[in-house]
Symmetry: C2
């Protein structure tokens, strides 16, 4: 586990040799046979104006390689943090933005058996650089997605639903009828938790902040499968009393807020329960009373999907099985893509700027 | 794990039928053949004036029972909290005080093979009621202590050194040369951690609060085997920089303070490390930044020895193995009893009052 913190992404498609203004054909001793448009940055900075669309050339693919046309790639908060230089892993320069997305295989090397031309594929690891029209990579860097799910579904399962799925599986042995409690229930991961938990037969208690359109939000989350939706204020005031007449005390709590809200989730866990933190939106530390740890035997853990995937990088079968399970839920309608705005690739700046604004739907770049 | 919180101790030596003023021989239909002096309370209260010395009679022992003469029993903070009614498990009334101590077997039932007359023994579980001169219990409620260790050593290993031993074994797979960091290093458990860790070949970084006699305290802890002693202020100022040139980053942190001090231990753990909380002396919640959980994969756990023993109540072999390991350390001098004041049993009130004062050595009641 050592050394992953503030690591550098060294695998930034090294076989995609640079094009761009300073990289004319005169500097190449190989013959470019393909080219792509890519959103590239060469420095970190808070204003995100360092991103430029460049033309990159690349050569013929090797025997183990695959050429993809990217179809769609979302702009996620982690992509922004990577560009700003504030994410715990950072790319080498020049870097292509984007960590998530779906591509279609258009060419495979002679030795490749894991994917075929026409397959939809997703990157295994963070730092793939999905914001481009075409990419060449090793076949082992890809997971397959079936073509009978929606494009938006395939483009957006590998980060948030993947996180939700693993958190519901890795920390407590939950069985149908068991209860999960979470804050930030309206976040992208929160919504995926609601849907995946419902598909697994789990009950969810969903905490949201009070807001003008609370009734509408509550109805939306319940339509997704939320069993209970409750505001932080209401939970402070009434506790879980009535809810616990219907469902068992939660053994798993999910926290993406921190501060008092995280403590609120913790304080409603059953003895022996686990609080999993995967975000810190409030930018305030969790407040943990010693007695919860000692006398209620609560454990606190963190979840970081990027690291989970790296820890399991060699077990492609496991990684593929998560994608398969999520795609089955997409296909059956148990899991729906989040609310998205589709942005033509050329208008990327608009998608970037929208992502840093609060309460915006997910921006998804469309390459084709 | 459910239902242990605020549980009631139901095993309070039910076979020791009550004596005392209201319980004359006229109320008994059995023939008392032994009696003992016991420190008894019949209500909870903050002032601790509810404790009375009473004479209790009891009948002949059964085939699986054992009669002990108690030799020595400490007054621990948990004993005080039980009397005050603030501990998470509470006895039924009438209750005999004391959870720890050493007794000598003076009589065994016909079917008892696990202990013999003359053996030294320790209670397995909390709520034993060790503050009395004699007791009858089931043989399965006892662990053996060898007679070639000091009386004070035997009387004081079952709570604090036991806690230290388990915390060093149960949360991280530590090997000789690995590092442990703890706050409250001068506490009873903290001192046991220093000694047991040294016996196991582990290195310890010991955080204490600054104080007038800091140099003397530091020398004392180093004489016990502490590798490094550092004040909270110094650690805030300089970090672990120089220490980490000599030892690896700690993978296990032990916290009995909470508040900022707990966060200080946490912030110096290696990625993937575990912070174990076993006390909350500062009476302030731990402040845990989300990024420690997510990006450093730190886990937070609690340890409560009483619950650990109950979870393993049926595995007497395991429980005995801990006592044996600790007694071996006592015998070799790797573990020494804490600084104790020996108090004749009749002067118990003095020991109780001293225990609620700060910075007092451990009070140990001597029954014989």
């Amino acid at each position: 586990m050592r050394g992953f913190f503030r690591g550098v992404l060294r695998a930034q498609r090294l076989w995609v040799q640079g094009g761009g203004p300073g990289w004319g054909a005169g500097y190449c001793h190989w013959r470019p046979i393909h080219s792509c448009s890519a959103l590239v940055y060469r420095r970190h900075g808070p204003d995100l104006d360092q991103l430029r669309m460049e033309q990159w050339d690349f050569q013929a693919i090797g025997p183990h390689s695959v050429r993809l046309q990217m179809l769609a790639a979302p702009v996620n908060p982690a992509d922004i943090n990577m560009m700003q230089g504030t994410y715990p892993i950072l790319p080498e320069f020049p870097a292509v933005g984007g960590n998530e997305g779906v591509g279609e295989v258009v060419e495979v090397g002679d030795e490749v058996t894991s994917v075929r031309v026409g397959d939809w594929v997703l990157p295994v690891d963070a730092g793939f650089g999905t914001w481009r029209t075409e990419v060449v990579c090793e076949a082992t860097e890809l997971l397959r997605a079936p073509r009978d799910v929606s494009l938006l579904g395939a483009a957006t399962i590998a980060v948030n639903p993947f996180t939700a799925y693993r958190m519901l599986h890795d920390f407590q042995q939950l069985r149908p009828g068991d209860t999960v409690i979470q804050n930030g229930a309206n976040s992208s991961v929160g919504q995926a938790v609601i849907q995946i938990a419902a598909a697994l037969g789990l009950r969810t208690i969903n905490i949201v902040r009070n807001r003008p359109n609370y009734e509408g939000l509550s109805a939306d989350l319940k339509a997704m499968g939320a069993d209970y939706v409750i505001t932080e204020e209401e939970l402070h005031r009434t506790g879980l009393g009535l809810i616990l007449q219907e469902v068992p005390k939660p053994r798993l709590g999910l926290n993406c807020v921190g501060g008092l809200s995280g403590g609120l989730v913790l304080s409603h866990l059953d003895s022996g329960g686990t609080l999993v933190t995967y975000g810190g939106m409030a930018k305030k530390p969790l407040q943990i009373p010693a007695k919860s740890l000692i006398f209620k035997n609560i454990s606190l853990k963190g979840f970081w999907m990027t690291q989970w995937k790296r820890n399991n990088r060699k077990d492609l079968h496991l990684l593929q099985s998560v994608v398969d399970a999520l795609c089955a839920m997409l296909r059956s309608g148990q899991l729906t893509p989040p609310r998205c705005v589709l942005v033509p690739f050329q208008q990327y700046a608009q998608a970037i700027q929208a992502t840093v604004q609060p309460h915006q739907p997910k921006q998804v770049l469309l390459m084709q």
